[in-house]
């Protein structure tokens, strides 16, 4: 048998080139490195008919433009090794993107074969390629459909290789017509190259002439080094003439011509589903991203999400609260009793510190779960990316960078990654401005606070309070941005940009569940780490007496270290209506993590309730039996699940009822009628405390709203502060935090005092 002929396998990365190579060569492979490079070189031997071939798998490249070492390796191999044929592997489902390399290989003048790989994927996506028509347009070039992973189309590929390496039967590629004035300049340079015996032997003259006009740096450098100064000068002169005649550089014109050729070849040869017709995604986008309707639709979806979050989760929140504060706490007390620890400080730490603090936050797992579920559905459907696009318009309308809304969308989940997301903004001032306003976007950790207060003071209308708070956060962020853009960060006009919006699709349960689980698990991790640590510290501060007659673990909460610290800042909140040491104290711990506001309140109010219990010396009731409690837990869980399903159904009438004059009835599967919503122990304590502090129930409600406004806007949690310091420095963080504190105080005061002026309470 004679020396094997060389066949090169070229293609873009991720088009299944190596899979096809393996299918073609089987186990007869040799792996090494390209000379002087760390890029892997794989070769294999195959026999087709009476001939043997050495198939070389070239590195995956997008072009032969010498932008990377892979591209130079692939190009040099084809030029220097003169393969008998080059098989260009392209993605059958993405010919527009992968044919560019094929065009460049064809320009090298080597016998070529086009392998439309992953043909099965293309078929599944409804893409039909008319290979005969495409081959005709490519001047009779052999085109083979392959599925490398299944070995399909290999015989046809082998046959095409055999034909193309047969001197008489092969088809050589047609040159691309670049039109005038390029063709004239290419011809002149081509003649100059052809006249040089060394150059014309090494390169195809037309190809080299074209590459020189493309200003290929690698080739220019090599020819300069080899002393071909006149040729380089002639190329530069030609490029200048082309630029003078057309107003564009030669490289752009050449590239443009190749793209236009590809588009021409593919027109009619590739049939896509609904090709040329407006897709459902396009039709949906006409409404969803409409300049006028886009924003109201976004707001309506937000409203639905918060109704869904607050109402659907409520029965499960009540169930977990009743479980933690009832049976679970009793079982823990029984265990501590059995270990003779119930009357010790450790027992108090477990019950009043860990269970009250961490349990107070764990109660809200259903709230976060349903929020993340709604957000995951929106993300997976492709809407979330569109919300950023819709809000871009609003941002730009008030002079902010359009892309500023992208970090803000991230901020709805957590402010920390949102701060880092500002890195996608090129301009430093735009970055600082966006980060400055990001903390006003309400993160998921603040949601439990709104839910506790919303359910306590607004019952079934808690969703409206939550929606209002989220809107207020966005409004304050935009107003702050507007003010800063007009004063501190007066700078360049916003840059235009193009967004790649994903097509709409039906959310997949697997994707949605993964996101919901990861986010809920993170909330759980926070509860069992940061909140646990904060709860223990707060318990010790509550147990340490600083005044009065108390002793360690036997002190009135207001006489404790925590009470004393909180009392010093409480008067500052007098104008906002929540000047009690309890609320002030919870705001301090809220700096650690926003959920800690709730865990601290749970601890304080549980302890206070215990104090009252001790003072009142209530008669203790006999503990129920374990079996009875377990049975009751299961029964109440079933009831909570039924109510959860009911509230999910009720989202529809609640939303439709927004229309004026419409009043659809709500489902009531357990025949509970209009009975009052259940409240948790903490919610009862909050209603009592705010009513007591302000003097009336209505004023208490007003103060509760003001408190939530403060929680929304005041200094972000310490993780966010650390992220901001890392990105923008300590001084900037000081300004931002001071501003946030001031805005929060002013907004809360305006809400409370404004409400009083309007006669509320």
């Amino acid at each position: 048998m004679t020396t094997p002929q060389i066949v090169a396998l070229a293609g873009n990365p991720n088009v299944g080139k190596s899979t096809l190579f393996n299918a073609l060569t089987g186990a007869r492979q040799h792996v090494g490195n390209w000379p002087g490079k760390t890029v892997e070189k794989v070769e294999g031997l195959i026999t087709i008919g009476d001939r043997q071939y050495k198939v070389v798998d070239l590195p995956g490249t997008y072009s032969l433009n010498a932008y990377s070492s892979e591209e130079i390796i692939a190009r040099d191999f084809i030029i220097n090794e003169h393969p008998a044929a080059v098989v260009t592997v392209v993605d059958a489902a993405n010919l527009e993107r992968t044919l560019y390399l094929a065009v460049q290989i064809m320009e090298l003048g080597v016998p070529a074969v086009l392998a439309l790989n992953m043909a099965d994927m293309a078929q599944r996506r409804g893409i039909r390629v008319n290979t005969a028509l495409l081959a005709e347009r490519l001047g009779g070039l052999p085109i083979v459909e392959t599925i490398g992973s299944r070995g399909a189309g290999l015989n046809a590929l082998r046959q095409a290789i055999y034909t193309q390496t047969n001197g008489t039967g092969r088809t050589l590629p047609q040159p691309v017509d670049y039109g005038q004035p390029l063709e004239a300049e290419i011809a002149a340079l081509q003649a100059q190259i052809a006249a040089d015996p060394i150059l014309s032997r090494q390169f195809r003259p037309r190809w080299l002439a074209t590459k020189l006009l493309e200003n290929d740096e690698d080739l220019h450098a090599r020819l300069e080094g080899a002393g071909y100064h006149p040729l380089i000068e002639a190329a530069h002169a030609a490029m200048e003439r082309i630029a003078a005649q057309t107003g564009e550089d030669a490289e752009t014109l050449i590239t443009d011509r190749r793209y236009q050729m590809i588009a021409k070849w593919l027109r009619g040869a590739v049939q896509r589903p609904r090709s040329g017709v407006e897709t459902r995604s396009d039709r949906a986008d006409r409404v969803v991203t409409h300049p006028i309707w886009g924003v109201p639709i976004f707001l309506l979806l937000m409203w639905v999400i918060f109704q869904f979050t607050a109402n659907v989760s409520a029965p499960l929140v009540d169930w977990i609260d009743a479980t933690i504060n009832g049976p679970f706490t009793r079982w823990a007390e029984a265990l501590l009793n059995a270990l003779s620890l119930a009357e010790t400080w450790f027992g108090a730490l477990v019950i009043n510190g860990v269970i009250a603090g961490v349990g107070g936050v764990l109660v809200f797992i259903p709230v976060l779960f349903f929020l993340y579920l709604a957000v995951a559905v929106l993300e997976d459907s492709g809407y979330m990316a569109r919300s950023a696009f819709v809000m871009d318009r609003v941002m730009r309308a008030i002079g902010l960078h359009g892309k500023s809304f992208l970090p803000l969308v991230v901020g709805f989940g957590c402010n920390v990654p949102a701060i880092y997301a500002t890195r996608t903004l090129e301009d430093e001032d735009d970055r600082k401005l966006t980060a400055f306003i990001t903390t006003f976007i309400s993160c998921g950790a603040r949601l439990p606070v709104y839910v506790v207060f919303g359910a306590a003071f607004f019952g079934a209308k808690a969703g409206n309070l939550i929606f209002g708070l989220y809107l207020l956060g966005i409004a304050i962020a935009l107003l702050t941005g507007l003010a800063l853009k007009r004063t501190v960060y007066r700078h360049k006009p916003p840059q235009p940009f193009v967004l790649e919006l994903p097509p709409y699709r039906l959310p997949t349960p697997r994707n949605v569940w993964r996101q919901v689980w990861q986010r809920t698990a993170q909330f759980l991790r926070n509860a069992t780490t940061i909140i646990l640590a904060a709860s223990i510290v707060i318990w010790f501060m509550l147990a340490l007496p600083v005044r009065g007659e108390g002793r360690f673990n036997d002190v009135r909460t207001e006489d404790s270290l925590f009470g004393a610290v909180s009392r010093t800042i409480a008067p500052a909140f007098e104008p906002a209506g929540f000047a009690s040491w309890e609320t002030a104290g919870s705001l301090i711990t809220g700096f650690v993590a926003k959920e800690a506001v709730i865990s601290t309140m749970s601890q304080i109010y549980v302890q206070t309730a215990d104090d009252a219990e001790v003072a009142g010396a209530e008669e203790s009731q006999p503990a129920p039996r374990f079996a009875d409690e377990a049975q009751e837990l299961l029964r109440s869980l079933g009831e909570a699940l039924v109510l959860t399903a009911q509230e999910t159904v009720n989202i529809v009438p609640r939303t439709v009822n927004l229309l004026p004059g419409v009043h659809l009835g709500l489902a009531d599967w357990l025949n509970r009628g209009e009975e009052a919503e259940e409240t948790t122990a903490l919610q009862d304590a909050l209603i009592a405390a705010f009513t007591r502090t302000t003097g009336s129930a209505e004023r208490g409600k007003l103060a509760a709203v003001a408190f939530n406004v403060f929680v929304l806007l005041y200094v972000p949690c310490m993780a966010t502060v650390a992220a901001m310091r890392h990105e923008f420095g300590g001084r900037w963080v000081l300004y931002q935090s001071s501003y946030a504190l001031l805005v929060a105080w002013l907004a809360a005061t305006i809400v409370y005092q404004g409400g009083l002026l309007l006669g509320i309470g």
Binding site: T246, T252, V375, A719, H726
Partner: protein
């Protein structure tokens, strides 16, 4: 008449507001994939910048898979003459080193 490539660049540079890839492709009667190729050319030429807007954050120990990071759309934006010369820092959080 400028080349199609230059017309695409001009359309992006002179846009009054953000546009989607699909809108721009429709405007030039191109497939979105072909338009993306053309935009990539201008990215290579340094006239546009391609930005993956989904940040990664390591502050909660999740590294690049922070659960709170929403999948944000890729964008192409115009590089201005007075933009910083240094490479755009990747949107990766280095909060905890």
């Amino acid at each position: 008449m400028p080349s199609l490539l230059s017309q695409v660049l001009q359309a992006v540079e002179t846009a009054d507001e953000p546009c989607t890839l699909a809108q721009l492709a429709h405007q030039f009667d191109l497939s979105p994939a072909m338009l993306e190729e053309m935009l990539t050319y201008w990215v290579r030429k340094g006239r546009l910048r391609e930005v993956d807007s989904s940040p990664a954050c390591a502050s909660c120990g999740h590294g690049a898979s922070c659960p709170f990071v929403a999948k944000m759309p890729r964008t192409y934006e115009v590089v201005r003459d007075d933009d910083p010369v240094c490479d755009t820092p990747p949107p990766v959080c280095r909060h905890c080193g």
